[in-house]
């Protein structure tokens, strides 16, 4: 095991500066500096604030990851970095750092896809990914269903949201309910004291036969309900019923995708995978359908550097050629491009 390569992963696609270190598929360190506190009062991530924070946090975060792993920077065998998708200016800070580390250490550089990294991270916890597996990524920026024959080589998009991402819907509904940003965890908590069947909110695109999602109608329906029922509404019931509508559609479509492609392993990743009701309902429906469910622990579901390092390790293992020092940061990198 000791001869497996040590990969340092750098993630700066949004507000978190994430540094992860792996040896093969063993996690050695996962360190995060977040600028979320600076963004919260703006009700969303401010790109320039995030980019400034990445520059300031990068070196200290790398150093603390190295210390946690008990390594010196010269022990690193390869650098992996999120090349996209994400906020352009934020990505660029990570990509510049990655190139400098690769150049300074004389080691290969891998520019990787953020979404594929969300899939790859699960190996650090649950071992090698079944080939193929089905992945559902649900975060503040993405809601996608992916067929993954091999995370180092091929990722196929089966469907995605046509409007808001699932996490975005949580955040927008939280705002309507007067809960702080980011709203997902607050709705999750409030919903524990409410009933998911109290209010029948719409399930957009649930039965349209596609593997796409739509959450903007649901968000509007909740806002309308709140305006109409103002003072007399039960916050826990609204939160629980909204949450139920989201996770009902997500799990239904994920299992429909498994059935359609005859896949028996479902992986859920992204920040919304931290949602307790999504985990419970997905488990219930997977059990009923004979599908094995894999969900990384919450800390690995949200953006982090370990996921980037994990995908880098897959690419090294598969003998993929390293990236050039000329690679750009690509804010709209398509999911089908696993590395650049």
């Amino acid at each position: 095991m000791a001869d497996q390569p040590i990969v340092l992963g750098i993630e700066t696609s949004c507000d978190e500066t994430g540094i992860g270190i792996v040896r093969g598929h063993t996690l050695l360190a996962d360190t995060i500096a977040s600028s979320m506190e600076e963004h919260a009062r703006f009700g969303g991530v401010v790109p320039e604030v995030a980019s400034r924070a990445h520059l300031d946090a990068m070196i200290p975060t790398v150093e603390s990851a190295l210390a946690k792993a008990g390594l010196r920077v010269t022990d690193i065998d390869a650098i992996a970095v999120t090349a996209g998708p994400g906020l352009a200016g934020a990505l660029l800070v990570g990509v510049a750092a990655a190139k400098a580390y690769a150049l300074g250490l004389g080691v290969p550089l891998y520019g990787v896809n953020h979404l594929a990294a969300h899939v790859a991270v699960d190996q650090l916890e649950h071992g090698p990914l079944p080939k193929p597996c089905l992945a559902m990524l649900v975060s503040g920026g993405h809601s996608s269903l992916l067929l993954v024959p091999d995370v180092a080589k091929e990722v196929i998009s089966l469907g995605s949201t046509v409007d808001d991402a699932a996490g975005e819907a949580f955040d927008k509904v939280a705002r309507v309910l007067g809960l702080p940003f980011p709203g997902g965890p607050h709705i999750d908590r409030a919903a524990r004291d409410g009933s998911g069947t109290a209010i029948a909110f719409p399930r957009g695109k649930a039965d349209d036969g596609t593997l796409d999602f739509s959450f903007s109608g649901l968000k509007t329906a909740v806002a309308r309900y709140v305006e109409k029922n103002g003072g007399s509404l039960s916050l826990p019931d609204v939160a629980a019923s909204f949450q139920e509508a989201v996770v009902d559609v997500l799990t239904r479509k994920a299992l429909a995708a498994c059935a359609k492609h005859d896949v028996h392993d479902l992986l859920i990743g992204g920040g919304v995978a931290a949602n307790s009701r999504l985990r419970a309902l997905a488990q219930e429906r997977c059990d009923a359908a004979g599908v094995r469910l894999r969900v990384p622990r919450p800390g690995l579901c949200t953006d982090n550097g370990a996921m980037v390092a994990a995908l880098g390790a897959n690419l090294l293992e598969a003998g993929v050629a390293p990236s050039q020092l000329t690679i750009p940061a690509d804010s709209s990198l398509p999911i089908t491009t696993i590395h650049v």
């Binding site: 703006f42 320039e48 300031d56 070196i59 750092a97 400098a100 150049l103 806002a223 305006e227 000329t326």
Partner: protein, 239 residues
């Protein structure tokens, strides 16, 4: 004499420029003007000056980045690169005000003003007594508010308002490296280490930028705070 090899680069203007300097002269220099590709061009430019000079990164004794002011996205590429190289190579990383490098390149012994593009219809400017002496700035201002009555060096913009601009249009890493090497030669090793080791804060106001020494830590000179609006109440969805 101490072995000196300064690697310098600047990404605070449309030019992506890198150079290697041995304390006496510029060994190699590369400059490409492309305002949108700093992130793609810088690392290859560093490789190419090393190759041209027949030097290896491990021989470099100090790394210097233009600290701005300049458009933020490009500016951060140079500073992030300097910090990461300094940290992996175990050598000091410095920041030098980009306008100081432009001023130094003029070799002038007379007073003048340096301007670079600040976008949003503004200019970054600083006023110098001679090529080495910054008297005021860096500041950010509308073209009308750039001081008149002195020769102006730098970007050819708003000449109908500020008058004719002469001299180098963009900074060169050769001049940046030369200025840094000159500064380093005047410092004891302890002083040099202290200059790089200052806290790496950001400079986001003109006041903070005024007293800045020529050679400092690789901290960005932004001059402006991020603009962001604190949102009001959610808008109504029903009529």
């Amino acid at each position: 004499m101490l072995f000196v090899l300064v690697l310098a680069f600047d990404t605070a203007t449309p030019a992506v420029t890198a150079a290697l300097h041995d304390g006496t002269r510029v060994l190699a220099e590369s400059t490409t003007v492309d305002a949108r590709r700093h992130g793609e061009l810088l690392a290859p430019a560093i490789e190419s000056v090393l190759t041209e000079a027949g030097a290896s990164l491990r021989e470099v004794t100090a790394v210097v980045a233009g600290a701005g002011p300049g458009p933020y996205t490009g500016l951060r590429v140079g500073l992030m690169t300097a910090r990461a190289l300094g940290s992996t190579l175990g050598i000091p990383a410095y920041g030098v005000c980009t306008l100081d490098a432009l001023a130094y390149a003029t070799g002038s012994s007379e007073p003048f003003v340096v301007v670079t593009d600040a976008r949003r219809k503004e200019l970054f400017w600083a006023r110098y007594g001679d090529a080495r002496t910054r008297l005021d700035g860096p500041r950010v201002a509308r073209p009308h508010d750039v001081p008149g009555g002195l020769p102006i060096v730098g970007i050819r913009l708003y000449e109908e308002i500020i008058g004719a601009v002469t001299g180098p249009e963009h900074p060169s890493a050769g001049a940046l490296a030369g200025l840094a090497a000159e500064q380093l030669a005047g410092l004891t090793p302890e002083q040099a280490a202290a200059a790089a080791g200052l806290p790496e804060g950001r400079i986001d106001s003109e006041e903070a930028a005024q007293g800045r020494a020529v050679l400092g830590p690789p901290a960005p000179i932004y001059l402006r705070r991020p603009d962001a609006q604190i949102p009001g109440a959610p808008k109504k969805v029903t009529a």
